[in-house]
Structure formats: C-alpha cells, structure tokens
C-alpha cells in the first residue's frame, strides 16, 4: 500500500483501514498484485503446452475406438454372412471369430494403457502450470526457457539436442518429443524424395485434413505425377493421374492443368513455368508444407515458440539507446546478433520516464555517482528531481 501523505484526514485513514480489514486474506502475502497478474498473463500464453498432449490423447482414443468398431463389425458381419454350414465348418468359423475377439481384447488392453499414459502426461502439464508461483518463479522460468528451446530443436529437426536437453533437466513430460518423432519419419522420407509415409500420414488424419481444407495430399500426388513424367513413364503417369489426381479436379483445376502440361513439355523443358515443377526445391516446399499441416493438426503455433518470444522480447527492449556506443553489455541489443534480429522489428514506446540507475544504487547502498561531476547522491533524491 502507498504510504499516506501527510495531513491526510482521518476519514480517509478509516476507509483504508476498513478496506484492508474486509479484503480477503491473500495467499501470496507480500507479493504485489501486479506481479501476480503478470504471472497469470504469462500463463495464458501456454495454450500449446496443454493442447498438444491433449490432441495426442484424443487421437489415441479415436484410433482405439475405430479399431474396436472395425473388429466388432467384422465379427458381426462374419456371423450374419454365415449361411448353411456343415457342423465342422460352423465350429471352425465360430472358433475363428472367438480368436479374433481375443485378439481384440488384447488390443483393447494395450490401447487403454496408452490412453492412460497420455492422460497422465496431460495432467502433468496442468500440474506444472499450477505449480508456478512467486516462490519458485525463477526456477519455473528456467524450465520454460528449456521447454521453448526443446520446441525449437524439434521443429528444426535437431532431435538429438532436443532429447539431451529434455533428459538433462528431466522435463520429458513437459515437451513433445514423441509427437515430433511421428513427424520425423515423414520428413526424413520426403528428404529422400519418398512420399509413401506422408501419404500414410494423410490417410491417418484424413477427416481432420479434409475439415481444414488441406491441400497437402493433392500436392503429394502432384509430386508423384511429376516424378513419373521425369522418368518418362508417361503411360503410368496418365493412369496415376486418372486414379489419384482426377478426384481433386473440381477444387484445383488450374494447378491440375498446369501439371498435366508437363507431359508435353517433359522434364528437360526450358519453359520457366514448367521447369520449376521439376526442381528439387519442390521437395523442400513439401517438407515445409508438411510441418505446417502437422503443427496445425496438433494445435501448435506455426512458428517456433522461441521465434515468437524472441520477437516480442526484442521489440520490448528495442530503444534508440541500444544502438549507441555506450550501451551496457547487459542489454542483449548491445550484441550484433541480437541487433540483426531486431532490425525489422518496431521500437518500443515509452510513456514514462525511467532511470536505469537502480542496479548501480543497489550495489552501492543506495548511492549513485554522477559521471560528470563525480558527486555522490542518494538514489531516492535523484528520482525526486525527476518529475514527470
């Protein structure tokens, strides 16, 4: 509470006193409320932290359910399809159904074990968010930085570093390494110019990709077509197009026509429009495309968290003073690399005057020395002369 100025009327004193008395006892005695609201605001940024493992959990539940439905309906139709059977055939048929159901039982047990594990992970994340309070905030912030770094490593495909960093701080439950390993298979294959794993992934997530109006599968199919044209397999290319490209015709006619034209131009064309279609960078493009689709499906940001926080931080710190020769080393923007990243970002805006002498003051018993005159002042007195 602000110290009351001199000569305050007793009335004001009385109201403040009663206000204090009626306010609920704070759980965080001694922590200013601005700090707490700041903490709450920062926790609200953690959507991805809760969402990603939950999407994974949901996906597992759905897959398990689909498997049960498939097996059960297979058994049901297996039964109803059985017409007049000899006795031996009937026994054999029923036996096969029983063993099928037994297999399903085992699958169910494995499935529910996987579901429970993932539920645990979701809960660990909730607990971790809840554990953040004023007492452990610096440690919690440290962990957050590590989480952000692991996220970066995973998105950039630096899997070894991601794993090592997570293990060294025992934060495996707080990062999404497993999920990204699913992506790794597809990315590695695309790097080797193979589309099969990517197509399998599309099939796995068919309904959700469709809902999001994803173009990714179409792009994969186009690339396969191009590869057939490249290898002069024109007949197969046409057959392939009939089977896999035609269904997309209604939505992407223009692109389809353009790619079909490669049959006429062939892979050694000099025509710029068609030449690019045969370039290896198309595969890089597919990789990027996949990463985006993948992130979107799991409710992740499309940019690495690190980049997002870096941009926000750089903008908040960027002032014209950072670029002066006497900029303190403690300011990240005194470094060339940080200045480079901050270049395309806006400067921060200041509404209030600020004195950056606090550190000097805390290190010197509240005294600061004037660099021009050498005179020593009390920090508190200095701010007094500094009206705004």
């Amino acid at each position: 509470m602000e110290p009351l100025p001199n000569g305050n009327s007793t009335v004001t004193n009385a109201t403040t006193a009663s206000a204090t008395a009626t306010s609920l006892p704070s759980l965080h005695a001694g922590v200013p409320s601005s700090k707490l609201s700041q903490l709450t605001e920062s926790l609200k940024l953690e959507h991805q932290f809760l969402r990603v493992p939950f999407e994974h959990y949901k996906k597992t539940i759905r897959a398990n359910h689909r498997a049960v439905e498939k097996e059960v309906s297979a058994v049901m139709s297996g039964l109803s399809d059985a017409g007049d059977l000899s006795q031996d055939d009937a026994v054999q048929h029923l036996n096969s159904l029983v063993s099928r159901l037994q297999g399903l039982k085992r699958k169910l047990e494995d499935g529910s074990r996987a579901e429970n594990l993932q539920a645990q992970r979701c809960r660990a994340r909730l607990d971790h968010l809840e554990s953040a309070d004023a007492d452990n905030i610096s440690e919690w912030n440290n962990t957050r930085l590590k989480r952000i770094l692991v996220d970066y490593m995973l998105r950039m495909s630096y899997y070894d570093t991601a794993t090592k960093l997570a293990e060294s701080s025992s934060i495996q439950d707080l990062v999404d390494i497993e999920i990204f390993y699913e992506a790794k298979k597809v990315i590695d294959a695309l790097r080797n110019k193979e589309v099969a794993p990517a197509l399998a992934w599309c099939a796995d997530n068919k309904s959700r990709l469709k809902k999001a109006k994803s173009k990714f599968e179409f792009q994969l199919r186009l690339q396969e077509f191009i590869e057939l044209v490249r290898s002069d397999n024109n007949v197969r290319a046409v057959m392939y197009a009939r089977k896999y490209l035609a269904p997309w015709a209604a939505t992407y006619m223009k692109e389809l026509q353009k790619v079909f034209a490669t049959l006429a131009f062939t892979s050694n064309t000099g025509c710029e429009i068609y030449k690019v279609l045969f370039e290896p960078k198309q595969w890089d493009y597919l990789m990027d495309q996949f990463k985006q689709e993948f992130c979107r499906l799991y409710g992740m940001t499309l940019e690495p968290l690190l980049n997002i926080y870096l941009q926000a931080g750089l903008s908040a710190l960027k002032t014209p003073f950072c670029y002066e020769d006497d900029c303190t080393k403690e300011d990240p923007l005194s470094q060339e690399s940080f200045r480079k990243l901050a270049m395309p970002l806006p400067f921060s805006k200041q509404h209030h005057s600020k004195l950056a002498l606090e550190e000097m003051a805390t290190n010197n018993n509240g005294k600061i020395t004037c660099p021009r005159t050498g005179l020593v002042y009390n920090y508190t007195e200095v701010t007094k002369a500094y009206i705004s």
Binding site: S42, K44, E46, H47, Q48, R51, F54, K58, I61, V68, E69, V72, M76, L79, L85, Q87, A90, V91, V98, L101, A119, L129, E130, A132, N141, L145, Y152, M156, Y159, T161, L305, N307, I308, Y309, L310, A312, G313, S315, A316, L317, T319, E330, D331, S334, S337, F338, K340, P344, S348, H352, S353, K354, L355, A356, L357, E358, A385, Y386, I387, S388
Partner: protein, 387 residues
C-alpha cells in the same frame, strides 16, 4: 492462475474415457461369451446321443442374440459422451488461454543461422557444455565452439569453489590482477581473505600468518583497515566463532563471492552477466500479452502492423529489463532525443526542449509559467540535462 475448472473438465474427460474403454471391454467380453456358448452347444450336440438342436439353429439363435446385444450401438453411446467431453475441454482451453500466440508475429526474415549462434552461445555460457556440443554438431554451427573454452574455465573455477577449493579462482585472479584493478574490482583480495579465513578456521595459525604476509601486502595501500581486521582474527584462532569477527565465517561469503566472480569473469570476457537469450525471452514473455491485445485492437490490419516503426502502445516490463534511462516529456509525451533534449527549468521540473520553446512562444526572454508549479521561468535559465 485458477485452473480448477479446467482440471474439472479434464477429470470429466478421463472419466468418460475410462467408462468408454471398459464398455468396449465389456461388449467384446459379452460377444465372446455368446459365441463360446454357442460353440459348446454345437460341440455337445456331436457328443450326445440324444437328439439336440441342429447346429444351424444354434447359429441362428446366436445371430439373434448378438443382434439384441447390439454391440456397435452400445459402443456409440459411451463414445458420444466421451466426444462431448473432449470437445468441451478444447473449447475451455481456447477460452482461458491465448489459442494463437503467433498473432503478433511479424513475418520477417528471422535469420536461422543467427538464432542458432545465439542458442549455442547460450548453452555454453550456462555451463551446458555437452548439450552445446551436441547442438553445434547437429546444426553445423562449429564457429561458436570458441566461446566454449572461455566459459569452461569459469565453470571449473565455480565448481572448485563449491567444494571449497579456491585454487583455480586465485590463479585466475592473479593472472588478471591488472585488469581487475583497472575495473576497480577488489575480488582478488576477497578471494585471499576467504582463503585466509579457511586456513585460520582449521586452526593453522602459523600458516595463516604466512599466507597473509605473502599475499596481503600488495593490497595494503588501498585496503588497510580490512587487512588490519583480518590480522586481528589471528588472535582469535581456534575460537573464531565467539570472536567479534565470527561474521567472516558465514558460508554466505562463498555464495556471494562465486556470484561476484562470475560477474567479473563475464565482464573481463566482454560478456553480459546474464544470458542475453534468457533476458530477451523473459522480456518477451512479459511483453507478448500486450502485443496480443494490441493485435486484437488492430484486428485485421496486418499490413499496418508489418510496417510499423514504433509500437503504438508502451509495453510494461520489469525494471530489470530497463537498461537505459529514458526521459519522456510530460507535456508532449515525446521521448527525448539529441534534437529534442530534456531541459531543467529553474524550479527543478524537466520538460523537453520543444515543449519549452512552445510554452515560451519562442521568445527567450519572455517568462512563462511552469506547467507543474507556479514558478515563472525564462528559457535562458533552462539547462540541458544529461542522463
């Protein structure tokens, strides 16, 4: 942050998930039981001499029974409830959290190589050498490895200090004696003092005296009272705990000195004491909520955001991120600059030069009233302030 309703919603999900999976198990169990029963019916028919129902009849009965059980229908019911809980939880997350924190991200060239170098340096300066090496390998940023060696020495010194070995620290301080002195640091003396107390604490008075003679003399000019105090400690050898100097034995001296050493070490390397990556990310965490709110207000004006040279709103970040003294004119709200510097008026209030020019109607001898107090001020009496 109150997570209770989110936790409740999550509990509902796991409960429904458990119900659903035990339902599946139950249904499958039911089906196998029926089929097995039918199977044993058929098999007993073969072994029995009595006339038994025909196996095809049993099969038809089984079909009817399973139809009655309607396993798919049963599964659907629980699954529906589970789906409801799932989508409810997701909606709740979207409501209570910021579902897209990349909304204020500027789509600019954010150089990968630069970011990687920053990260590699961060690992090394935080003493995570193995992870740093792993990263440098994976990301092919070999040029950063140089930075490792500097920090390797620092962490070795700090590690030794943890086990109360000041050897490496003293060696470093002696080597850098001149530079430390120029920076006005007395850390070398502090290290010697700690070593001296360490010897004395173990009761080896003669050795302590020898140590003092060997190492304190170069500091005698500047730190005489301090050294006198230390010499007086010699008298209390063996019962330092009850001496007026017992404070010197406090283990906090070790922690404090380790902190100071790290600071001085970074200083000599020309590095900041805190990892610039940690600082920037921490500032980002504090600043991002404001930026996201700004995006809400600017709704849709993505182009305007991309080209903005200065943020339209201030971002409140902690004092620890305030590296520069900034003066904002209380009249014009402009940030002071070389062209528009802060001026101290004779009453002690400060405005920017342009505001003073405006108030005085550009007449240097015409007095005007300070906007903050009743004093009459003349432009000629105003002096420029330097921060």
């Amino acid at each position: 942050m109150d997570l209770n309703n989110i936790k409740d919603a999550f509990d509902r999900v796991t409960k429904k998930q458990k119900v659903s999976s035990s339902k599946s198990q139950e249904v499958v169990e039911q089906m196998s039981q029926e089929i097995e029963q039918a199977l044993s019916g058929i098999q007993s028919a073969t072994n029995s001499t009595f006339p038994q129902p025909d196996h095809n009849l049993i099969l038809t009965e089984l079909k009817a029974k399973l139809k009655e059980i309607a396993p798919l229908g049963q599964l659907e019911g629980t699954q529906k409830e589970l789906n409801l809980a799932l989508s409810k939880y997701i909606k709740l997350l979207e409501k209570h959290f910021n579902p897209d924190i990349s909304r204020s991200y500027r789509n600019v060239d954010f150089d990968l190589h630069t970011i990687n170098q920053i990260i590699a340096s961060h690992f090394y300066r935080e003493g995570m050498f193995d992870i740093g090496d792993c990263f440098v390998n994976e990301a092919h940023e070999e040029s950063v490895v140089d930075r490792k060696t500097h920090f390797l020495e620092m962490y070795q010194i700090l590690e030794s200090m943890k086990s109360r070995d000041l050897g490496p620290a003293l060696k470093w301080a002696t080597t850098n004696h001149e530079k430390l002195r120029q920076n006005g640091s007395d850390i070398e003396l502090k290290l010697h003092r700690l070593q001296f107390m360490e010897i004395l604490q173990h009761g080896r008075r003669d050795e302590a005296l020898k140590y003092a003679r060997a190492y304190f003399s170069p500091f005698a000019n500047q730190h005489l009272p301090e050294i006198q105090k230390l010499m007086a400690c010699l008298l209390w050898a063996g019962k330092l705990e009850s001496s007026p100097y017992s404070e010197l034995l406090s283990p906090t001296h070790w922690a404090k000195l380790a902190h100071e050493l790290a600071q001085q070490f970074c200083n000599l390397l020309g590095e900041s004491y805190q990892s610039p990556l940690s600082v920037t990310i921490a500032a980002g965490v504090q600043g991002l909520p404001t930026l996201l709110k700004l995006m809400n207000v600017m709704n849709g004006k993505k182009n305007e955001w991309q080209s903005m040279k200065q943020l339209p709103v201030p971002i409140d970040i902690d004092q620890e991120f305030q590296f520069h003294s900034i003066f904002v004119c209380p009249v014009s709200r402009d940030q002071a600059s070389e062209e528009n510097p802060p001026m101290l008026m004779s009453c002690g209030h400060v405005l920017c030069k342009q505001s003073i020019t405006k108030l005085s109607k550009n007449n240097s001898t015409r007095p005007f009233k300070c906007p903050y107090c009743p004093t009459e001020v003349e432009v000629g009496q105003c002096r420029r302030l330097y921060f």
